[in-house]
Symmetry: C2
C-alpha cells in the first residue's frame, strides 16, 4: 500500500472519465497558451548565432544583423504558410495528421519521428536555457546546472502526471510578463542607444579559429533557426479556440509571428550595438539586460521571467509528446501502452518517457544549450517541410476556395523550410545533426516493425474460420523437494485442479529419498510420488525430460506444473528462498503445452 500512497502524494487521487472537459480559449488566453514555446526561443536564438560567428573573431559578429533579418523573413513565410493549415484543418493540424492525410503513411512516420525527437529536444534545450538564465544571475549555481535541469524536468513531469489543465490564466502570467519585460528592455535599450550612450568596446581577446566563410555564416544562420521552433503550436490547437475557431487561430498566429519577429530582431540588433560577446558563464540576454539596466532589480526580473517562459515552453512538449504518442499507438506504430490514459486522465507513459529521455540528454550533453542546438532544428524543419508539402498536395487535389493563390504560398513555405533543413543538416552535420539524420530512419523502421508485429499477432488471434480450441488432456505435476506444510498445501490445491495429480521428486541423495517416502505415506494426501534419478545432480534436466515425455503421450496434452513457493514476510528473505521456482519458470517459459503455477505459502 505504500507505493500507492507515494503515488497519491505526487500524482493525486484518480479522476473519473466523466471529469474530462475542455476549456475554450479567448484570443489573448490562446496566445499565452500556444506561444510560450515559440517566444521562449528568443532567449537563446541570438546567442546561438553569435556563438558560431565569434569563431571568426569579434568583427564577424556584424553578420548577425543580415542573418537576423533572414530569419525574420523566414518566420513571416512559415507563419503565412501555417495560416493556410488552420484554414484547412479546423480540427487541429499536427504535422503527423496532415502528412498522413495527404502524403500517406511513410512520410507521416518520418514526420512523426522528427516530431518525437523535436519534443524531447524542446524539453532539454528549454530547460538547459532556463537554467543558464538562472546561472547568469547567480553564478554560484553554475556547478549545479545539470542537477538543476534534472530537477526542473522532474518537477514539470510531476505536474503533468497530476494532469495540468491548459488553463489560459496559468499561462497568461509568464507569457505576458515575458513579452512586456522584453519589450520594455528593448525599448529602454534603444532609447539609451539613441540618446548617445556608448557601450564599452568588445573584449577582443577572442581566439580566432575559423575563417569567415559562407559555410560559417550559413552555420550561424542554421543555429539561429532555433527561433522558429514552436510556431506550429497554434495550428495544432485550433479546436481549443472559441468560435469561430479557425479565424481566431489565424489572428493569434499572426500576432505570434509579429511579436516573435519584433523580440528576436530587437535582441539581435541591440546585442550587436551593445557589443555583446557570447560567453560560457553568462547568456547574451543576461549580458544585454545587465548593460541596459546596469544590474539591479529589473535585471533580475528579466532573468527570472526568461527562466519562467522556458520552463513553460518545456511544459508544452509534455502535452504534445504524449498526444502524438497516443495517435501513433492508436495506429499501432508504437507500443499500445502509450494509448491508455492513466488514472489522472493523462497519458502517463508518454510523460515518463519524455521526462526520462530529456533528462538523459541533459546529462549526456552536460546541460549545455549550445551542444543540444545542432540536434534540434533538423527535426523541426523536416516536419515543417512535410506538413506544408502536404498542404500543397491538398490544395492541388481538392481545389477548394482560393486554392490557386493558397498552394503557391504553401509551396513557398515548403520550399523555404526544406532548403533551410538542408542547410542545417549540412552545416550542423558533424556537430550532432548526424544523430538525428540517423535516428529518424531508425525510428521509422521501428514504427513499421512494431506495426507489422501487431498485424501479425492480430491475424494469429483472429476468430475468423476458427473451430474452437481442441479438447485438453490435463496432467498436474507437483514438483517437491521435501514434504512440509507448504508442500501439503500445494498438493491439496493440485487436487482441486485435477483428478490426475502426481508429485515429482528429483533424487539428489538416496538417503533423503527414503526419508521423504516415509513421510509421504502419512502426509502425502494419497498423491502418487514419482522419483526421478539425477546422475548429474541437476534438478532441471531429469524433470524437463519427464515433462517432455508426458507431452509426447497425447497431442493435446497440457501439463500444469505446480510449484510450492514461499512468500516471505520481508523482501530480503526472498533471496533465501525460491531460486528453484524461478529456474523452472525460466526453463519452461517457451515450452508449448506447459503451464507453471506457483502456489504461494505465506510465511509469517
Amino acid at each position: 500500500m505504500k507505493i500507492s500512497a507515494v503515488k497519491k502524494l505526487f500524482v493525486g487521487s484518480p479522476l473519473a472519465t466523466a471529469q474530462a472537459r475542455h476549456e475554450r480559449l479567448s484570443r489573448p488566453s490562446a496566445l499565452a497558451v500556444f506561444s510560450s514555446d515559440a517566444l521562449s526561443s528568443v532567449a537563446y536564438a541570438t546567442e546561438e548565432i553569435l556563438l558560431v560567428l565569434i569563431l571568426a573573431g569579434t568583427a564577424a559578429l556584424t553578420f548577425s544583423i543580415p542573418i537576423g533579418i533572414a530569419i525574420a523573413v523566414l518566420i513571416a513565410v512559415v507563419v503565412s504558410s501555417y495560416r493556410q493549415t488552420i484554414f484547412a484543418y479546423p480540427q487541429g493540424g499536427g504535422a503527423y495528421i496532415v502528412t498522413k492525410d495527404n502524403l500517406g503513411t511513410l512520410p507521416s512516420l518520418v514526420s512523426a519521428g522528427a516530431l518525437l525527437i523535436d519534443y524531447v529536444l524542446t524539453v532539454a534545450v528549454s530547460v538547459a536555457a532556463g537554467v543558464a538564465a538562472i546561472n547568469s544571475a547567480f553564478p554560484g549555481l553554475y556547478d549545479y546546472r545539470i542537477l538543476l535541469g534534472v530537477f526542473f524536468i522532474a518537477g514539470i513531469a510531476t505536474v503533468n502526471l497530476r494532469g495540468l489543465r491548459e488553463s489560459g490564466n496559468l499561462f497568461a502570467l509568464p507569457t505576458y510578463l515575458f513579452v512586456v519585460s522584453f519589450a520594455g528592455m528593448l525599448a529602454y535599450g534603444f532609447v539609451r542607444w539613441l540618446a548617445g550612450w556608448e557601450a564599452p568596446p568588445p573584449v577582443s581577446e577572442v581566439a580566432v579559429s575559423h575563417d569567415l566563410t559562407i559555410f560559417l555564416v550559413l552555420r550561424a544562420f542554421a543555429s539561429g533557426c532555433a527561433a522558429l521552433t514552436g510556431v506550429e503550436a497554434v495550428s495544432d490547437g485550433v479546436p481549443a479556440f472559441r468560435p469561430p475557431e479557425a479565424r481566431n487561430a489565424r489572428i493569434v498566429l499572426a500576432w505570434l509571428g509579429i511579436i516573435l519577429i519584433v523580440l528576436f530582431i530587437g535582441i539581435t540588433f541591440l546585442a550587436h550595438h551593445y557589443h555583446v560577446v557570447p560567453r560560457l558563464e553568462e547568456t547574451v540576454v543576461s549580458q544585454l539586460a545587465r548593460m541596459v539596466f546596469g544590474g539591479g532589480l529589473l535585471y533580475y526580473e528579466i532573468q527570472v521571467v526568461t527562466m519562467l517562459i522556458l520552463v513553460f515552453a518545456a511544459n508544452t512538449a509534455f502535452a504534445d509528446f504524449p498526444r502524438l504518442a497516443y495517435f501513433l499507438a492508436r495506429d499501432g506504430f508504437i507500443p499500445r501502452q502509450f494509448g491508455t490514459r492513466g488514472d489522472r486522465l493523462v497519458f502517463s507513459n508518454g510523460i515518463l518517457i519524455l521526462g526520462g529521455l530529456a533528462a538523459l540528454l541533459l546529462l549526456l550533453f552536460g546541460g549545455a544549450t549550445h551542444a543540444l542546438i545542432p540536434l534540434y532544428a533538423v527535426g523541426v524543419f523536416l516536419s515543417f517541410t512535410l506538413s506544408q508539402a502536404s498542404m500543397v498536395r491538398r490544395w492541388v487535389l481538392r481545389r477548394e476556395a482560393g486554392w490557386r493563390w493558397r498552394w503557391p504560398l504553401n509551396a513557398l513555405g515548403a520550399g523555404t523550410t526544406g532548403l533551410v533543413m538542408l542547410v542545417i543538416a549540412v552545416t550542423k552535420f558533424s556537430h550532432g545533426a548526424w544523430m538525428v539524420v540517423l535516428l529518424i530512419p531508425l525510428l521509422v523502421a521501428l514504427f513499421l516493425m512494431i506495426r507489422r508485429h501487431y498485424a501479425d499477432v492480430a491475424h494469429q488471434l483472429s476468430l475468423d474460420n476458427y473451430d474452437g480450441p481442441p479438447p485438453i488432456e490435463h496432467t498436474v505435476l507437483v514438483l517437491v523437494g521435501d514434504l512440509h506444510r507448504g508442500v501439503v498445501a500445494a498438493l491439496r490445491y493440485a487436487q482441486a485442479l485435477s483428478t490426475s495429480v502426481k508429485a515429482v521428486y528429483v533424487e539428489l541423495d538416496p538417503d533423503r529419498t527414503q526419508k521423504l517416502e516415509e513421510k509421504w505415506g502419512k502426509f502425502g494426501l494419497g498423491v502418487p510420488l514419482v522419483v526421478l534419478t539425477s546422475p548429474y545432480r541437476s534438478l532441471l534436466t531429469p524433470f524437463l525430460d519427464y515433462v517432455n515425455h508426458l507431452l509426447t503421450l497425447g497431442e493435446n496434452h497440457v501439463v500444469t506444473i505446480v510449484i510450492p513457493e514461499f512468500v516471505p514476510a520481508r523482501w530480503w528473505q526472498h533471496l533465501l528462498h525460491n531460486q528453484t521456482a524461478l529456474l523452472i519458470k525460466g526453463a519452461l517459459l517457451f515450452h508449448k503445452g506447459v503451464v507453471v503455477v506457483d502456489v504461494p505459502f505465506h510465511l509469517r
Copy 2:
C-alpha cells in the same frame, strides 16, 4: 538452448556425482599445492614494509631489517602452533571448524566472517600484485592494470567453474619454479654483494612526510605481516596427504615455514643492501631482479614466475571460499544456494560471488596492492588467534598425550597473533582496517539473522501436530480484455481446472463491452462473463475489489486467476505485450488465497 551452449563452452559438460574422487598427495606435491598462497606473499611483503618506512625518508629503510627478523620469528611461532592443529585435526582443521568445536557458535562465526573477507582479499591482493609484476616488466601495460586484473580474476573463476582438480603436477611447476628462481636470484645477489659489487646509492629525492616514530615502525611491521597469509593452508588440507597424513602434513608445514622465512628474509636483506626504494610503477622485487641480473632473460623469468605464483595463490581462495560457504550454508548461516554443487561438481555460487567481489574490490581500490593491504591482515590474524585459542582450550579440556607442553605452544601462538592483530588493527585503522573491523560484526549479525529466519520457517513448515490442510473451495476467474484465440484457449484451459469458471472483463469503454458480448455468445465456450465498471479507468482496482469480495464468501476459498499471456517469438516483442499480466501478478503477490496462472499463447 543458446545459453546452455555458451555455458557448455566455458564451463564444460556436466560431471556425474560418481566421478568425484580425491587424489592423495605425496609430500612434494602437497608442498606445491598448499604453499602457493603463503609463498606468493613474498612478492609484496617486503615492499609493503618499505612503502611505510619511506614516509620517514630513505634512512628509515634500515628498519626493514629488524622488522623482517621479527616477522620471521612470528612465522616460526605460527608454524609451530599450527603443527599442533594438524596433530589434533587429522580430518582437516579450518579455523571455522576448530573454533566451532572448541569455543562455540559465536566465535566460530567471527572466524568465518574474517575468513570470508580474507579469501576475497587474497584474490584481490594476489591478482593486483601479479599484475604489478607484469607492469614492472612491461610498463606500457600500466594503464590497463585494472582491466588486466579483472581479466585474470575472470579467467581463474572460469577455470574453477569447470572444476579444477587439485592436481599436484599442475601446481608443482609454478611453485618450484618460483622457489628455485627466487632462491637462485637471492644466492646470485648475495654472491655479487659479497664479491664487492656496489649498488648505486639510493635516490634521495623522496619527500619526507612523517617522523620515524614507534607507531610508524609498528605500521611497517603490520604491513609486512601480509607475509604470513596462507600458512594455515596445510592444516586445512590434511586429508589430502598420503598416509600417514598427519605426520606428512606436519613435515610439509615445517618445510613451508623454512622456505618462507628464507625467501622473505633474503629479499628483505638484499633489497636493503641493494638500496631499493619502493616506487609506484615498479615493484621492489622487479627492481631487485633488474639490479641482480642487470635485466635480460633471467629478469623477465622472475617477473613471469612471480605473476604465475600469485595467480595460483588467488586460485586457492577459489577452493577455500566455496568450501567455507558450503559449511556455513549447511549450518544455515548463509543462503542455502551456497550448499549445492553445480553440474561440474563445484560450488558455482561461491565461485561466482568470490570472483565478483574480488573484481569489485580491484575496481574500487584502483588495482593497487598497497591500498588493499591494510584491509587484508586483520582478518587473517583474527582467524589465526581464534583457531589457536581453540587449540589451547582443547588441550586443557581433553588432556590428550603431550597436552602439558602442547597448550603453552598454542597459547604462545594465540597470544602472539592476537597481539599482532591488535597492532595491525590500530596502526592500519584509518588506512582501511576500520572497514574490516566494522564488516566482521555486521557479517556475524547477518549470519545469525539468516539462521533465525531458516529456523523460523522450519518451525512454520513442521508437520508435527499437523492435521492436514483444510478442504478448498475453488473458483477460477479468467481475466479478459478482448476475445480472441488466445483468450479462447485460456478459457478452455480454465474449464479443465474447475467446473466453476467465470470470465471477468473490466469495462473502460461501453462500446467495446457490447462488441465483446456479441462475440462471447459464439466463442465464449459457455463461460459466464462478468463485466465490472471502472469509473477511474483503472483495470486493477475493480478487479481486486471483486476478488476480495469472492474471498470473503468462504473461509477456505481459493481464487485462481487465469491470465492469457502472449509468448512472442522474439524477446523484444515482450515489450509490446503482457504489461497487464505483470501488473496483476505484482498486485496479487502478497494476497493470501489467490493463485495467479499465466496461460501462455505461443505466437509464431
